[in-house]
Amino acid sequence: MENLGRVTPATALVLEVLLAADSVWGLQIVKDSGKKPGTVYPILDRLESVGWIQGEWDSSEERKGPRRRYYRLLAEARPSAQAYVGAHQAKVAPSPGRPSPAILQGQWFGA
């Protein structure tokens, strides 16, 4: 699992949706996050490429034709995702100034 990198509000929203369920249809993430597919699709690609989420095909046989793609947040990524979402929520909450990187010190993994 790689480092996710830059924190963006859209990424935090997508992670929030993924944290709320076991496996989520890609378009449901678009709807629940309130962001456009042009924003959400690349974020999902990025999360998948760094090993935070896993894409899987819809196993339902009711629908014919192309299968829906579902996304699942991997267990090992959950703590980081929660820290990430928490940091974002702290950032958007009314505060007197710009949050410091030190906000993450309590959840540090590297030491």
Partner: protein, 223 residues
Amino acid sequence: MVRRMKLTEAILALCVALTPDRLREVREEQWKADLRDGPQLGISASSLLVGAACSSVTARFYEVLDRASKLLSHIKEGESVKLGLGMAGVAVILLGGAAIGIQATSSNAETSPQARTPVHDRPIGGYEGWWNSTPASGDTAGLPQEIVAVNTRTGAVVDAFNRATKSTNISDVNYIPAPDPSWPANSIIIIDTASGKVVEDFLVDERGVPLDENGRPLDAITG
């Protein structure tokens, strides 16, 4: 109606073609399913096509970035000796030309963007290396445009550098690193803020002083 369907198919085919090979098959089926089922959620086909285009372009961009990063890494680690020697040769020629024509005035210019340990006589938080240096040629292609240095002992950002503004103020860099268990412990890591990837790391002691290959702090070596 038929014309619109053909246009949709053509745009989708373009997006698929733009997508890196390894993802192409998956994305094609996924986007087709999304175009079929999107209206159920009130998501328009045009919005989905824009999404597919963004996804394919972004994936392609990261693929190129990844290749460039690997190439740079190989040069740095000496695995690609031929390429490294070739680049060193070009650097020597450029430096020779520069030495004949002009007298160097910049004290911080380097011969080539090679990896090296930080110098010992700068205060903690002032780490130097290829990531925040500029080659004598002035060509910064392939070098990070903005970095932050994080001490993994504390999780604190201890240094920053923006190539465009030449700023080294941490407060000027709008980047919050997300902690990652794969980061090396007891180290300073250099993160390229554009990709979020760790581009360099080195061990430090509890004061943040870099350690040499024998595990001794650099300031202990020089007394």
